[in-house]
């Protein structure tokens, strides 16, 4: 029996009797990161990184949460477990399992670039590597964050000069926080949608330092709404909620914006291909660094990516999961985003 089995509840470790990022309720769940498709409701107990806990508590409510830091080995039923930075969002972890000399790494979602908030991606050697491939096609090649930030800043300044508000759509957990230092350089006041605010406060209350934001409420002063700089989840796109910032320009922050067709579909004024996932080169580099004998590819362009790996000296298999991708509109069904308006 391999150390990890692919079941209809998710990745199951029989030796340790626990699941990793299960999509149905189980008794013990290890969680790579706080996004709603990876950390789902209903399990009896959760184990996650210390910084992921406040997110889970906000999203899933009170429950049984255990935490552990990066590179602090623990053991469950004889399986050695450690978490390693995945650099995807705050607290995101690759989970390393070791049992009788067999090593598996479940990467969850990851990226290679250090965004200044989510840590430095750590390559971990293993026999079996489970990798996402959300952007597993060679058309996805990211520009450095600094360059995209500069594009965003210029866009904000241009809108300001034209008397317009800048409304940025970004995933409320991860992308929204990542944007803050960038925006803080061009505005004194960052306004955020309630969904973004909830995540923000959960992180701040847990001691994570972030630039200041202001929640948009019916009491927000009128003069703040003109020429404002605002972060909102994509679920707010096209809703009456947006109107208060008029005249405004909209910008979408997502890796999908690298392709013009996807950008036009969003009907936004600007698209910034800023992603919390590894691009094509990043995926290949990360996989190579693991020196894994077998690579399991999950959510994304699994068929094409898996085939490419197999043709290039890796042993890759496709695994069907129920993870979504946290860079598209579909994700606006996130519970967090539903909390507000």
């Amino acid at each position: 029996m391999p150390l990890i089995e692919f079941t209809d509840h998710g990745f199951y470790c029989r030796a340790g009797d626990f699941f990793i990022d299960p999509w149905r309720p189980v008794s013990k769940a290890l969680i790579t990161h706080g996004h709603s498709d990876h950390a789902r409701w209903g399990s009896k107990s959760y184990l996650c990184h210390t910084d992921t806990k406040p997110i889970l508590e906000t999203r899933l409510g009170p429950g049984h949460y255990e935490t552990v830091g990066y590179n602090e080995p623990i053991s469950i039923n004889g399986v050695n477990i450690s978490l390693h930075p995945a650099a995807h969002i705050i607290g995101s972890s690759q989970i390393r399992l070791e049992h009788k000399g067999e090593v598996w790494v479940v990467s969850g979602d990851y990226k290679l670039e250090n965004d200044g908030l989510s840590g430095e991606f750590e390559p971990v050697k293993c026999h079996n590597f489970i990798s996402e491939c959300t952007f597993g096609l060679p058309i996805y090649q990211w520009k450095p964050q600094a360059q995209i930030f500069s594009d965003i800043q210029q866009w904000v300044l241009k809108n300001k000069a034209a008397g317009k508000s800048s409304l940025l759509f970004a995933y409320s957990l991860g992308k929204a926080q990542r944007l803050l230092p960038c925006l803080a350089e061009v505005t004194d006041r960052i306004l955020v949608h309630g969904a973004v605010y909830n995540v923000h406060m959960a992180l701040v209350n847990a001691g994570i330092k972030l630039p200041e934001v202001h929640r948009v409420t019916p009491d927000t002063p009128k003069e703040w709404l003109k020429g404002a700089v605002v972060i909102a989840p994509s679920s707010a796109e096209g809703t009456p909620w947006m109107r208060r910032f008029a005249p405004l320009a909209t910008g979408v922050c997502s890796g999908w914006m690298a392709v013009r067709g996807a950008m036009r579909r969003r009907n936004a004024d600007a698209g910034f291909p800023l992603s919390d996932h590894a691009d094509w080169d990043g995926l290949l580099k990360a996989i190579k660094a693991t020196e894994a004998e077998c690579v399991y590819v999950t959510h994304g362009f699994t068929a094409a990516f898996g085939r490419y790996l197999n043709e290039h000296g890796f042993n890759a298999k496709e695994v069907k999961t129920e993870y979504g991708d946290d860079e598209t509109e579909e994700k606006s069904t996130d519970v967090l985003e539903k909390l507000e308006e």
Partner: protein
């Protein structure tokens, strides 16, 4: 190339007409004159001939990007556009690019080179393409590739470009529209010749831009007194313009294509028509006139004319089976004088007089529909399908002939489309705006206990609905055939279409005209959809 790439990027991202206009005006005020001529040419569909074919482009690209061909296909499929796929796949060299930035080459350089290499051997062409890719950045590469592969779909209407040019050169929009339509060679004409004052008297073929109508959404009673309006059938062919000047005949179609050669039926008009004349009308299949007959000839259905379109050489058989005629709507030029600013009533009575005098078999005057009140017109409209018409055109008698689509004076009042309920059975990813999503569907109806595919459709749903169907497709795929997925026959749609014809190229035996999704029938299950019998009955009634 930088200015042009920036223009294309701007036009591609903004959805607002006035921002597009601003971007164009801005471009026309900074760009090189030679580049401007090319931009006008490219955006009005006159791109240079294809110097390199798509397979060669793809081959060079996979070589440079070190990728297998199947991966290129996969990417192309996701992106939906070849030029963009290549631009995204090629390795980017920012530093080298920034160093070269100061002596960048203009747009016309690349176009001239593309024309030059057209006649060269393959290695020469390859060398030019590869070197150009190396000196351009990603967004410039995209427009460079577009120059080769053609069709800049950046949502700039002819109207927007005309307005921008009018603004940049402070000329009348209608004058500009007239000037840039027609036959000119962007390789030789200068910007001044194209848009300046003295130009154009020389081009005999220059068409007038069509006046297009909006659909009437309210009841016709909202138009007021019926006596102020002239009503004609809305004929279902190709809008066309016949011009004769200085002994030469020109036949233009919408989309500004010169189609003179395609319709030998019109050739006698070169000798028959007087000089200095322009007739607006419909290119359509008309049965031959019987000797001495004076009644209006009912046109054949559009499917008949379709056999004539897109073919360079017309066969004798086609000429017999689908003879083309021209239903004349309007008189735009007479004795070399532009009549567009005269009222319709005046143009019409002149036209009637001329037509009575001419009596040429290629031409047929569009009859005016007589009616007492709007209620009566409504009843008359029900005869549209019998007439092989799409409904009515309602034109104000006092209207001048305007440029492009305008509200107020001309309206089209179309009959409701034919509809049928069908189930989606195949899905394919769309291109362009919806690339990456499953938006192209094939539909089936029941034939006994089997589902038989009969049409494709890919428009009519909202973005949100497309996203939902896309999610359904991904979850309910049964099989994959290349880019096509077979899906569980579960989603029912009401399809609308404008016409139906017999077809032996389709398994179902029918072909639909302009099929589209009218609504998603979430209230219906696959057992409740229509049958092939139903389609055949429609063919009986409307397909003749």
């Amino acid at each position: 190339m930088r200015h042009f790439a920036a223009l294309v990027a701007k036009l591609g991202t903004t959805t607002k007409t006035n921002e597009k206009l601003d971007a164009l005006v801005q471009y026309f005020s900074v760009a090189d004159d030679r580049d401007k001529v090319w931009v006008i040419a490219i955006f009005s569909g006159r791109r240079p001939r294809r110097a390199v074919n798509t397979t060669q482009l793809a081959t060079y690209c996979v070589e440079l990007a070190k990728l297998p061909f199947w991966m290129f296909d996969e990417c192309w499929h996701t992106v939906g556009d070849l030029a963009e796929t290549i631009a995204l796949l090629l390795p980017e060299n920012e530093t080298a690019y920034n160093e070269r930035r100061d002596d960048e080459r203009p747009l016309y350089y690349y176009i001239e080179q593309l024309k030059r290499i057209e006649k060269e051997e393959e290695p020469v062409r390859k060398k030019f393409i590869v070197e150009s890719w190396a000196e351009l950045n990603r967004s410039e590469r995209f427009v460079f590739n577009k120059l080769i592969t053609g069709s800049f779909r950046i949502g700039v209407s002819q109207k927007a470009m005309v307005n921008a040019l009018a603004k940049a050169t402070s000329a009348e929009a209608s004058v500009i529209a007239h000037r840039i339509s027609g036959n000119w060679d962007p390789g030789t004409i200068t910007f001044d010749e194209l848009t300046g004052d003295e130009a154009h008297a020389t081009d005999l073929s220059k068409p007038y831009p069509f006046y297009l109508a909006y659909a009437l959404e309210d009841e016709p009673a909202s138009l007021g007194n019926p006596e102020d309006w002239q009503v004609e059938w809305k004929w279902d062919g190709i809008r066309g313009l016949i011009i004769k000047r200085q002994g030469e005949l020109f036949v233009w179609s919408r989309g500004e294509e010169l189609m003179t050669e395609k319709f030998p039926e019109y050739h006698s008009l070169q000798y028959l028509l007087p000089d200095g004349i322009a007739l607006d009308g419909e290119i359509i299949s008309l049965p031959p006139a019987e000797a001495g007959a004076t009644t209006f000839r009912r046109p054949l259905p559009f499917s008949s004319l379709q056999t004539r379109i897109g073919r360079k050489n017309v066969t004798k058989k086609q000429l017999q089976e689908a003879p083309a005629g021209f239903i004349v709507y309007d008189l735009l030029e007479y004795e070399g004088e532009d009549w567009r600013s005269r009222p319709l009533s005046e143009r019409r009575s002149k036209l009637e007089a001329l037509m009575a005098q001419w009596n040429y078999t290629a031409l047929e005057l569009s009859p005016v529909v007589r009616f007492e009140d709007w209620e009566e017109l409504k009843t008359l409209r029900e005869q549209s399908r019998e007439m092989n018409a799409e409904g009515f055109m309602i034109k104000k008698r006092s209207s001048i002939y305007q440029v492009g689509r305008k509200r107020g004076d001309w309206w089209k009042w179309k009959i409701d489309p034919l509809t049928i309920d069908a189930v989606m059975i195949y899905a394919q990813k769309g291109a362009g705006r919806r690339s990456g999503l499953y938006t192209d569907y094939t539909f089936a109806v029941w034939d006994g206990d089997k589902l038989v595919p009969f049409t494709k459709a890919y428009s009519g749903l909202t973005d949100k609905e497309f996203a939902q169907v896309d999610a359904f497709v991904k979850r309910n795929s049964l099989e994959k055939f290349g880019p096509v997925r077979t899906v569980k026959p579960e989603l029912v749609f009401e399809l609308a279409f404008e016409g139906i014809a017999a077809s032996n190229r389709h398994k179902s035996g029918v072909a639909l005209r302009f099929p589209r999704m009218l609504r998603w029938r979430k209230d219906k299950t696959v057992t409740e959809i229509n049958t092939l019998e139903d389609l055949k009955r429609m063919l009986e009634v409307y397909g003749k």
